[in-house]
């Protein structure tokens, strides 16, 4: 009898041969070695195929990250955001413990309100400072960012051996920043308007009270102003520093937003990266990729194709649709009947009371809503570890001070004892230096000096607790010999007391504020004293 074809054997192995045909083949296999071998080989092949397909091809990363975290695609961008926000967040953490009356919030340079006010006013001053000056600043800042980004990229490359696509986009934008002469069109007027029939072929740097794009910008748009409105088309990215940004036209790239408010009522090709007080995607708004934002309040009425990751100080309202996961940390969350989340919903809120999810809302994945327990920090080991670390580093800094500048250290510590003088001087410096930084940043000497001043300001704030701690220990122990070790012991005791007192609710914040003022005042007084003989000599 003639042998069977491979096709028939294959059908047999896959259980697709029926009735008589299968029986005949089975009979044939008893006598034919060749067909038996073929069937065995095909069977082994099917098994290998089934088993191999249980895993994904190596080029495709595991879906775990996508399904669980939902933002594996933004890791690189998150790293970029983190680099930009790192400085800000350290300030936020520090200021978190300060209790300032609500009415004075606008004055507090570290609150969201104060910070955005400061930032937007600063960008507005920039806008009125003259193009030439700004170009220079932009070159300096661009260079600085470039160094930061290159450093960050090296780290990322080390980890993943490739530069994330979006990060690369940002890098290119900033490269354009740092090379102001390269394919960059600059406009600096009260009203910068690209009319409906106008087309800008290069990247456009627009500075003005109002920046309005009704026509087409073929490159990126970098806009500084009170109000930025895009009703036309931006083919590249939109980088916006403004009090208010409204996009009702289309942006084909990404939006990097540092505006007080951002309204998207049009089409966006890729993602929004935002640091903003209020973010709204209106019902006609469409985001082609995802949103990564640190914001006050967010309202999503339109469509976001991929994931949304938000860190909010206020509420998130969703009545539109999100293609993938929604991850929110904030005060409250509302999903209306029309809301649609294509992946998991992960929310960390202050109170469950603030969460309203309508019955009609569709969530395809898991729903994980938890109350962010902020008071339980004392129950977490990480908290003690952090405190121990911060305590140890403060002791180390104190010890260094005693070894390197023993005289200055002791005199500053004693200057704390002057009480009201230090306190008053400290308050003046705490409030005055940020203003000085802003002023310095917009006058002749420029941003590098302002940055140095800012660094010195932060250092002085950090050192304040050391002076006050040492002073407290000193009056408690009253060391007779006053050796280095007596001072260190005093510092240990003083810092310990201050740390513990600092955690008393309400009073603690006030105490911390007082410590910063006292220490700053004493430090400034002593610096003034130390420099005086040199000046008179």
């Amino acid at each position: 009898m003639e042998c069977y074809s491979e096709l028939t054997c294959s059908l047999f192995v896959d259980g697709e041969l029926t009735g008589d045909a299968a029986r005949h083949l089975r009979d044939h296999l008893v006598t034919c070695q060749r067909c038996r071998d073929l069937v065995h080989a095909l069977r082994a092949e099917s098994r290998v195929l089934t088993e191999s397909l249980r895993e994904l091809p190596e080029e495709a990363p595991s879906p775990e990250a996508f399904s669980h975290l939902g933002f594996s695609w933004v890791w690189g961008d998150l790293a970029m955001m983190a680099a930009v926000l790192a400085l800000g967040s350290t300030l936020f953490i520090w200021i978190d413990h300060l209790e300032i009356p609500g009415a004075l919030e606008w004055f507090n340079p570290f609150s969201l309100n104060g910070l955005t006010n400061l930032m937007f006013n600063l960008s507005y001053y920039f806008a009125h400072g003259g193009t030439a000056m700004l170009t220079e600043y932009v070159a300096v800042v661009g260079g600085l960012f470039l160094v930061l980004l290159l450093g960050g990229s090296v780290l990322l490359l080390g980890r993943r051996w490739r530069l994330p696509k979006n990060g690369l986009g940002l890098l290119i934008v900033l490269l354009t920043f740092s090379l102001p002469g390269f394919a960059l069109e600059r406009r600096h007027e009260e009203f910068v308007t690209i009319a409906a029939n106008q087309t800008v072929d290069d990247t456009l740097l627009a500075i003005g009270n109002t920046v309005r794009v009704e026509g087409v910008v073929n490159g990126d748009l970098l806009a500084f102003g009170r109000s930025v409105e895009v009703s036309g088309t931006v083919k590249g990215d939109l980088v916006s520093f403004a009090k208010r940004t409204v996009v009702s036209g289309s942006v084909e790239g990404r939006i990097y937003n540092f505006s007080q408010s951002l309204d998207l009522d049009g089409q966006l090709g890729h993602s929004i990266y935002g640091f903003t007080q209020s973010l709204r995607v209106a019902d006609r708004g469409h985001v082609g990729d995802g949103i990564v934002a640190a914001a006050g309040d967010v309202s999503l009425e339109g469509e976001v194709k991929r994931s949304v990751d938000m860190l909010l100080s206020g509420n998130a309202d969703l009545s539109g649709s999100i293609g993938r996961d929604m991850t929110v940390t904030g005060r409250g969350l509302t999903l209306t009947n029309t809301a649609r989340v294509g992946g998991n919903l992960t929310a960390r809120v202050r109170q469950l009371k603030g969460v309203h999810i309508a019955d009609g809302a569709i969530i395809a994945g898991k729903r994980d809503v938890q109350v962010r327990v902020r008071k339980s920090q004392f129950a977490r080991s990480r908290f003690y570890f952090r405190q121990a670390l911060s305590f140890a580093s403060a002791m180390l800094v104190g010890w260094l001070g005693l070894v390197l500048v023993p005289g200055f250290f002791r005199e500053t510590t004693q200057a704390v004892g002057s009480g009201w003088r230090s306190l008053g001087l400290g308050i003046g410096i705490l409030a005055g230096v940020p203003v000085a930084i802003v002023v310095v940043a917009i006058t002749l000497v420029g941003i590098p000096i302002a940055l140095m001043l800012f660094a010195a300001y932060l250092t002085a704030i950090y050192l304040a607790k050391i002076w006050v701690g040492a002073f407290l220990g000193w009056i408690l122990l009253r060391p007779t010999g006053a050796t280095k070790y007596d001072w260190l012991l005093g510092l240990l005791l003083g810092l310990l007391i201050l740390t513990i007192v600092g955690f008393i609710p309400y009073l603690g914040g006030l105490v911390r504020f007082g410590i910063v003022c006292l220490g700053l005042g004493a430090f400034a007084w002593q610096l003034y004293h130390a420099s005086r003989p040199a000046m008179t000599a």
């Binding site: 294959s10 059908l11 065995h40 099917s46 191999s52 879906p63 994945g365």
Partner: protein, 200 residues
């Protein structure tokens, strides 16, 4: 000892099945937690199928999201006649084919251009794929599958990933059963050729 372990495995399986039944029932009643549980259990398998069927990871992620979004409605039509994972993979397969069809502007994904002629493998050359056992070889095989042309890849994946019958595959792809058989065999021959090439 072995028999004991086997009995235990069967027991665990039965328990899981009962558990799954109740989860599905609750999901059919629009219980969000149950739907979340199904998502947790099967998102990986569904994504895997989409990943093998579609050309990019983004598209596969989109399709996976879409499958689970639609599941809120479509699960009502699940009647228990086939095991749930198989049913879900069939839904996912349909979703992927929809995506591919949209991309082809409504045209059929695989077009029958010729009669099912198969080049027979010579009898002295048994399949080298059966001997693919080592991990790195399997990884190579997976990459080779991912790079197969669409008309070979889709039927192959539907057969060996979703474990659909030739008739079901024919129905999903809008082809004749014989043609499906031919395509699957050609896909295997192509894989053999690629792997033999690589190991040389």
């Amino acid at each position: 000892m072995d028999a004991k372990r086997r009995r235990l495995t069967v027991k665990v399986k039965q328990m899981e099945e009962r558990d799954l039944e109740s989860v599905i029932e609750r999901a059919q009643g629009h219980d969000a937690e149950a739907l979340g549980e199904i998502h947790r259990r099967y998102v990986r398998r569904v994504f895997g199928l989409c990943r093998y069927m579609l050309d990019s990871r983004e598209n596969a992620e989109d399709a996976t999201s879409e499958v689970f979004l639609k599941l809120q409605r479509s699960i009502e039509s699940y009647d228990g006649s086939v095991p749930f994972p198989q049913w879900l993979l069939r839904v996912a397969g349909n979703q992927c084919i929809d995506v591919l069809r949209r991309r082809n502007r409504g045209r059929q994904v695989i077009v029958e251009v010729e009669e099912g002629v198969v080049v027979e493998a010579t009898s002295s050359e048994p399949s080298p794929l059966g001997a693919v056992i080592r991990m790195e070889e399997r990884a190579q095989l997976r990459v080779a599958i991912a790079h197969l042309p669409e008309n070979y890849r889709l039927p192959l994946v539907l057969r060996y990933y979703s474990e659909l019958s030739y008739d079901e595959i024919a129905q999903q792809l809008g082809l004749r059963r014989n043609h499906v058989a031919v395509l699957i065999l050609r896909a295997k021959q192509e894989l053999r050729r690629k792997l033999a090439h690589r190991s040389k």
